[in-house]
Amino acid sequence: MASSTLVSRRGPGRPGSRKARRRDADLGRQRTLISPAQLGRPRGKAVYWIVFALVVVAFTLAFLGPLYWMVTGGLKTTQEVVQSPPTAFPSSIHTENYSQAWNVMDLAQLLFNTLYYAFGALAFQLVLDVAAAYSLSKLRPMFGKVILGMMLATLMIPATVLVVPQYLTVLDVPIFERNLLNSPWAIWLPSVTNAFNIFLLKRFFDSIPGELLDAAAIDGASPLRTLRSIILPISRPILGVVSIFAVVGVWKDFLWPMLTLPDPGKQTLNVGIYSLSNGVPTNVLIAALTIASVPTLLIFLLFQRNIMSGLTAGGLKG
């Protein structure tokens, strides 16, 4: 699947150098900037461990520290959370902040809404974008190249520039004359216009050998059947990547759901918490932030390997 990665990996080293890299080969990795010999010396070892310890401590503080502060901030009293100097440990544990945040900010509703929008968008993208990429890659209809070109051209238009005309379109969809404001369709349908995902899918489908499909066609399989029983099973890795992009995209979006879902009962987590953030005490707000962070952190910890490799395999979407 070399063609599906922008970050192309160079092939394995030439056989002659293998001996020199035996130590690293044992570890299953290539040698890097610092030579193994240098690291093997006592001085090199000492420097390595000092730098390593410093980096581990600094990273833990920089990336877990704020999360620790968030979780414990939600446990403090209203006075303690805004006390100067702040306390590293809550002097008394107040778990009721969490239940208060859950009830006052109606987090269950916000969470449900966000999941509903995210997985709806995922379903729409998986069906429509996969079908489109399959058609463009394998069925190759008339004007297919033009359509693909027009889809890819949308990548050149900065998303924020289109927000205003897209919003006006949602207010009054031409031909159908519908107002999609406060409706999940306002999230789902525009999410399909993800040219990057179509591009990734098409590039992957292009790499599937045509002989496989020819064999299916000889057996009389319809295009839909071929897609279901040949293309999709082989394409699991790229479908995973596209799914992650789809869900995370909706989960992290802010401006678009703020504009199109103004009804407080229909808002996403991001928008709902933001719009209530000035009306609740700081400790309850921080408890709400903690709760809002749990679902994606759980998903991340469960699927970290797929998510992180999907990020680099999917190229440079970041």
């Binding site: 192309s8 990996r9 160079r10 080293g13 020199a20 890299r21 290539q30 040698r31 900037l33 030579s35 390593f52 980096v55 990273f59 990336f63 704020p66 502060w69 100097p85 974008d129 079908a131 489109a132 058609s135 190759r140 209809p141 297919g144 359509i147 949308t154 238009i157 900065p158 924020t160 289109l162 927000v163 205003v164 005309p165 379109t169 349908l189 525009p190 399909v192 216009t193 292009d206 790499s207 599937i208 045509g210 499909l213 066609a217 995370v248 989960w251 802010f254 401006l255 987590l269 991001n270 918490i273 953030s277 700081t282 707000l285 932030l289 809002a292 994606t296 990020l311 680099t312 970041g318």
Partner: protein
Amino acid sequence: MSAPTLSTGKASAPPPGHHPRPTGPDSAREEFVRALRRNISAHGFLIGAVLCFSFFSWYPMVREFLLAFQKTEDGTTTWAGWSNLSYVFNDPAFWQAWRNTLLFTVLALVLGFAVPFVVAVVLNEFRHAQGYLRLLVYLPVMLPPVASVLLFKYFYDPGYGLFNRILEFLHLPAQQWLQDPDTSMLSVVIASTWMNMGGATLIYLAALQGIPGELYEAAELDGAGLLRKIWHVTIPQTRLILSLLLLMQIIATMQVFTEPFLLTNGAGPEGSTTTVVYLIYQYAFNFNNYGGAAALGLLLLVVLAGFSAVYVRLSRSSED
């Protein structure tokens, strides 16, 4: 199999698995019917996505251009010529927004471009705990933006915030952070870098792992030290990825909205965090001036199109 190069011309070609049949009087007709059926089913697969693109992408693109030259007063829309553009140019907030956006972009590049690269180079040397460190760097990317941004807002508070406490611990003077026009943009950039650096770091790491070890060995034989190895091997070998990410970050940071909007309610002290996209938002949704918003959007589009074009060229060349 290589990518199909023909599409329109191929429409009349025999479908896969087609066996040559004896040519008869109606073979041409059969061929035509087959091609037609093939096209109908192929377009059937395409139609859903094409409709979505038409309504929510292509039509808004056209509309953006129209809006920029139209004016709506009392429900009637008329052509406005260049008046929207000249209105936008004469708005004092216009230049300030561009200055702020450029400041944000430059600061975000210094922090958000250099820091992930250095982090990736260091992490790539570690033989231990690499998985843990990668996990840490990527953790903030998975948080909902509202959680990280409001958390940083809490840390930035001059009174009870964590950051002034750290400065105090280091015997440095306390700052007003978001409330001071001189530091507000920097504060936004720090929060934004923390939230977003994970993606770039992982992409750099993948690129670094593709550098053949022999290159470093050869450089060592030539007597190169650590810095020279970075300068002559690491950077040239990752140049393409570096330049792609640089362009992508320029394009993304020039469209910044969420972070300043959540941290400083958009404008910030003395308008010091008003960005171009926030100004577009204000025009459209606070002043109901869609024409002005579209004109401003068009200007942003023109500026970013240059960067996008370079990006597309570079990423094409990377695929060969």
